[in-house]
């Protein structure tokens, strides 16, 4: 999603929900979602038109993506079903290399004639740019997979669940929150299905069917007398699963510190809405934090975003090399630090992997958007930087022969490029629970759920807020705090990591809308961790008067 769209939608107010529409997504009748537009035989024939045309015009490499992108948003507030929107975006994106230079063109005209013309445009762009090319493209080899397919392992296709069931579920959650004293509640069910067909001049024809689901709400409390208001979002995670995520099974509920309930592989939206209404009132009444150094105990629903910003982005090789210098920025993890082989990114507790195969994650696919089979690899091992995230045209720069398989485009209409894999902190090897960590903290704050976030263009200096802040005094939770944000330097922060809970506490969280590139594109990505402790982090007070 474009940043401007994000802000415009989010800026509709503290309680308003974000509805991130893909650019040029069309609005359609939901019954259409269940009808296939083209079968794989037809897609292959159309893809071959582009592959043959590009070759005859001098392309040394071509890939074709025929994509159908379906979204469903069901939005409600209090007792009202506000909007049911079904969007479809269908088209073809063609990428070529001519004279060692990339060219790309896309069109919603998915006919043999339309594809031929689009191929011509892609070739013309590559030729125009090749006059000024100083670094001819070098692609790492990848096997030809022939005709293969992959599908997200879902149990229930959300698009087959009647809209009425979704409206009823959201309205039940809203009713529960209002009953418990919320002033306002907005809720949304957001479903995604990417039907992607990839073909390359190297002989791969890959058909993939990808599903993602995200139930969310914002429960608001307003104190008109003092002019204060607070918002408590859902403790759900966006997931690479089907509608089974809404089952809210008892075995997926976790009793957390401070009397909170957290969720694992399925989610109970009605129970969480009730809890949110209680907590949002406490958030208003909470004590304003005393600034200073604290030991932070960070819950996975919070820590995922810190991992995303301070580990996920700086380990992207395109940023390190300068390809994103004009927008997202570069990275402090320069090649010399990686080559040294001993760059102390974090403490010995810090083991971080990139993984495009993790079941239930947002980033899981069989093959990336340039036909590379996906895998899992180490980024930080025992605190040391060991690798980056790289794709076919850049991995040669770090002397590796194989792409990491993390190339992605948000749509048929955008060119694919390096995007973040699921990047996760590995759980500790010794038995440890969040309660045991808290018991050992003298002066600290336990933070639940992501809130405000900001980090510089080389990923040194960051500031994160959160949603629930519990004061820890002498090993015990001592009530709620507000106006909390922590500021740190990435390397210092990860070196202050003193404890990580074991695998029983490991959970995935993530986002649908990580933005990068020009034009800006969204990427859905998950981040796993167990609760972890960071010692002596600088906390500021964000309370102001206007």
């Amino acid at each position: 999603m474009k940043r401007r769209d994000f802000i415009q939608l989010a800026g509709a107010g503290a309680g308003a929900m974000m509805i991130p529409f893909a650019s040029f997504a069309n609005v359609v009748d939901p019954s259409r979602f269940l009808e296939p537009l083209l079968d794989t035989k037809q897609k292959k024939q159309l893809a071959d038109v582009a592959l043959n045309a590009a070759k005859s015009m001098g392309a040394t490499y071509t890939d074709v993506r025929i994509g159908r992108y379906l979204n469903q948003f069901v939005t409600t507030r209090e007792k009202k079903a506000q909007n049911i929107v079904n969007t479809e975006s269908f088209g073809v994106g063609i990428r070529v290399i001519v004279n060692g230079t990339w060219g790309f063109a896309a069109s919603n005209n998915v006919t043999a004639d339309g594809i031929k013309k689009t191929t011509e445009r892609a070739v013309a762009i590559a030729k125009a740019n090749s006059k000024f090319q100083k670094e001819p493209v070098k692609l790492a080899a990848t096997p030809s997979y022939g005709e293969v397919s992959w599908k997200t392992p879902i149990v229930k296709n959300g698009f087959e669940v009647p809209v009425k069931d979704k409206v009823d579920l959201l309205l039940s959650a809203n009713a529960k929150a209002m009953e418990k004293g919320a002033n306002f509640v907005n809720s949304i069910m957001f479903l995604v299905n990417e039907q992607k067909y990839f073909a390359s001049s190297e002989g791969s024809y890959i058909d993939q069917d990808i599903h993602r689901t995200w139930p969310n709400f914002n429960v608001n409390a307003v104190d008109r007398a003092t002019g204060q208001f607070k918002s408590r979002p859902a403790f759900s995670a966006p997931v690479g699963m089907g509608y089974e995520y809404l089952d809210g099974k008892a075995e997926d509920k976790i009793q957390g510190p401070g009397g909170i309930i957290l969720y694992g592989k399925s989610y109970d939206i009605v129970e969480d809405a009730a809890m949110a209404a209680e907590q949002v009132k406490q958030m208003i009444a909470a004590k304003s934090v005393e600034p200073g150094k604290y030991d932070l105990v960070l819950e996975p629903s919070h820590l995922w975003l810190t991992i995303h910003e301070s580990v996920g982005h700086p380990t992207e090789l395109d940023r390190v090399l300068g390809y994103e210098a004009n927008f997202a920025g570069t990275s402090f993890l320069t090649l010399d630090k990686w080559k040294a082989g001993n760059f102390n990114f974090g403490s010995k507790h810090v083991n971080i992997v990139a993984d495009k195969t993790q079941v239930g994650s947002l980033g899981a696919v069989g093959y990336d958007d340039e036909g590379v089979k996906c895998k899992k690899w180490d980024l930080i091992k025992d605190g040391v930087l060991v690798n980056y995230q790289a794709i076919r045209d850049q991995v040669n720069i770090i002397g590796q022969r194989e792409s990491h398989g993390c190339c992605y485009s948000q749509s048929w209409s955008d060119v694919q490029f390096q995007r973040m894999a699921n990047v996760s902190l590995q759980p500790g090897k010794e038995s440890l629970t969040p309660d045991q960590i808290i018991a050992g903290v003298e002066k600290g704050i336990y933070i639940v759920k992501d809130g405000s976030f900001s980090i510089d263009q080389q990923r040194y200096n960051f500031q994160f807020g959160g949603v629930l802040f519990f004061e820890i005094k002498n090993g015990k939770i001592a009530g709620m705090l507000k106006d909390v944000a922590y500021q740190a330097n990435t390397q210092e922060f990860w070196n202050s990591c003193a404890q990580v809970c074991d695998e029983r506490d490991y959970r995935l969280n993530g986002a649908f809308n990580d933005g990068k590139g020009q034009p800006s594109q969204s990427n859905a990505v998950s981040h796993g961790s167990a609760t972890a402790r960071f010692n002596g982090v600088n906390v500021i007070n964000t309370g102001r008067t206007i």
Binding site: G322, E324, Q457
Partner: protein
């Protein structure tokens, strides 16, 4: 196909409306052709073109409505899409906030379309990139930039007789220039409807100079400083303030525009009395369409006048509940400037910081409109009326409301291009602000 003339669009939309058997119908027809080029490491990286057109049809029965779309335009397809939207409307739950479409409105003529921009070719883009890369390479600097051009049309027609059509072109250019020793970085942004006003060589020189001047920055203690904000920096924070000026949120008590004890701050002075912010679709420097998405007319309108809030944005439903006229979200924003040049402002500053731009601006507290973010690509220390040296980047925690209360001097207006995307489209002056809050230092260049 992607760009239809007014007559072509009207003809298709008339057919669509004619097929309706519902209580009412609204149809939108939009198309766009866009192109872009990216470069980095002093070489072209990716570039592309996209073309798309779509028809959306919304039919309603009472307060039940349904929407369907299509991108085929023969008569049978048009009838099919109307029938499908009607079936969907019959299945939909009642929306108590549904508003019937508007009747015909009167719109301002605005000059948003330029042939020069509509005719941009891949060769033009490649040359524009070369004109930026070559002077950088000559000075041991690495350029990373982006140029994107768009031409598009939007149209809407409904069964109450409304028809609106507009066309627009735009070109946006940004480039970041980094010195090869890694210690200096400069940036520039340009945004126009008419590409003949764009000179990527001239713009690139501004960024190259900033990169050279910002080498080897010194650390200065964070704290409260007088700042001179370039328009790109201030424009982002003012743009974010606009996004928070929704009337319904203010009435509901969940906005910085909500008043303690109830009501809103509409009619209250919230910033320095020299602050005047308005919207005007016909402004020649930053023109905008004369209508918003559903056909609501946009007009010239004050938002903040002499520091007083004069308008919040009302959607049609909320306006009907509050018995006021709807106020669409503006297509542009204009802040009145002053006469001071940047040189004058520096000369009059005893101790301060000159800020080229802000980056990664995110909300911290919607109650006070507190934002955090960092300076980037050229931050300088001013002492006794002169730029002394570049400084390391700062993180700020500040509210645009506090910022506009601490106004010292207004300078000349500039059209703000795309940075992080919050500032455009707008005309924003240079401004000097006292007591701007920097809370920490960053090592980022």
């Amino acid at each position: 196909m992607a760009i239809l003339s007014k007559d072509e669009a009207q003809q298709i939309l008339k057919k669509v409306i004619g097929f309706s058997k519902a209580d009412g119908i609204e149809a939108t027809l939009n198309g766009n052709d866009s192109g872009n080029i990216r470069y980095a490491r002093n070489s072209v990286s990716t570039s592309g073109e996209e073309s798309n057109v779509s028809l959306g049809v919304n039919s309603y029965f009472g307060k039940k409505s349904g929407t369907a779309t299509i991108n085929e335009f023969d008569d049978a397809s048009l009838e099919k899409v109307v029938r499908r939207s009607e079936e969907l409307a019959q299945l939909a739950p009642e929306n108590p906030e549904f508003m019937e479409p508007l009747s015909q409105q009167t719109y301002m003529e605005t000059k948003t379309f330029f042939d020069s921009t509509a005719k941009i070719t891949p060769e033009y883009r490649a040359q524009a990139a070369a004109n930026s890369i070559n002077p950088a390479a000559a000075k041991d600097i690495t350029a990373a930039g982006y140029l994107t051009n768009n031409r598009g049309f939007s149209s809407v027609m409904n069964s109450k007789g409304l028809f609106a059509y507009s066309q627009a072109t735009s070109v946006d250019f940004t480039v970041t220039m980094r010195t090869n020793d890694g210690t200096g970085s400069g940036w520039v942004t340009r945004s126009f409807n008419d590409v003949s006003k764009l000179n990527t060589a001239e713009a690139s020189k501004v960024a190259i100079d900033k990169a050279l001047q910002s080498r080897n920055a010194k650390a200065v203690e964070p704290g409260k400083y007088t700042v001179i904000l370039e328009p790109a920096a201030a424009g982002d924070l003012i743009g974010l303030m606009f996004f928070g000026m929704n009337a319904r949120q203010a009435d509901e008590g969940r906005s910085f525009m909500s008043k303690k004890g109830g009501g809103t701050k509409l009619g209250e002075k919230i910033v320095d009395e020299r602050v005047n912010i308005y919207t005007d679709p016909q402004n020649e420097d930053v023109p905008a369409a004369g209508w918003s998405n559903n056909g609501l007319a946009r007009k010239k309108m004050d938002i903040i006048k002499n520091g007083v809030v004069t308008n919040l944005f009302y959607d049609r439903y909320w306006a009907s509940q509050k018995n006021v006229e709807p106020v669409p979200f503006p297509g542009n924003r204009i802040m009145q400037g002053g006469n001071a040049s940047l040189e004058d402002m520096i000369k009059d500053t005893k101790k301060g910081i000159l800020v080229t731009r802000f980056w990664y601006i995110r909300p911290v507290d919607p109650q006070t409109l507190l934002y955090t973010g960092l300076t980037r690509d050229g931050t300088f220390f001013i002492e006794n009326g002169k730029i002394k040296h570049p400084v390391k980047n700062f993180r700020f925690n500040e509210s645009p409301i506090i910022m506009l209360n601490n106004l010292e001097t207004l300078g000349k207006q500039v059209r703000v291009g795309n940075g992080e995307g919050f500032g455009a489209p707008s005309l924003i002056p240079y401004m000097k602000i006292r007591d701007f809050t920097f809370t920490s230092l960053s090592d980022a260049v």
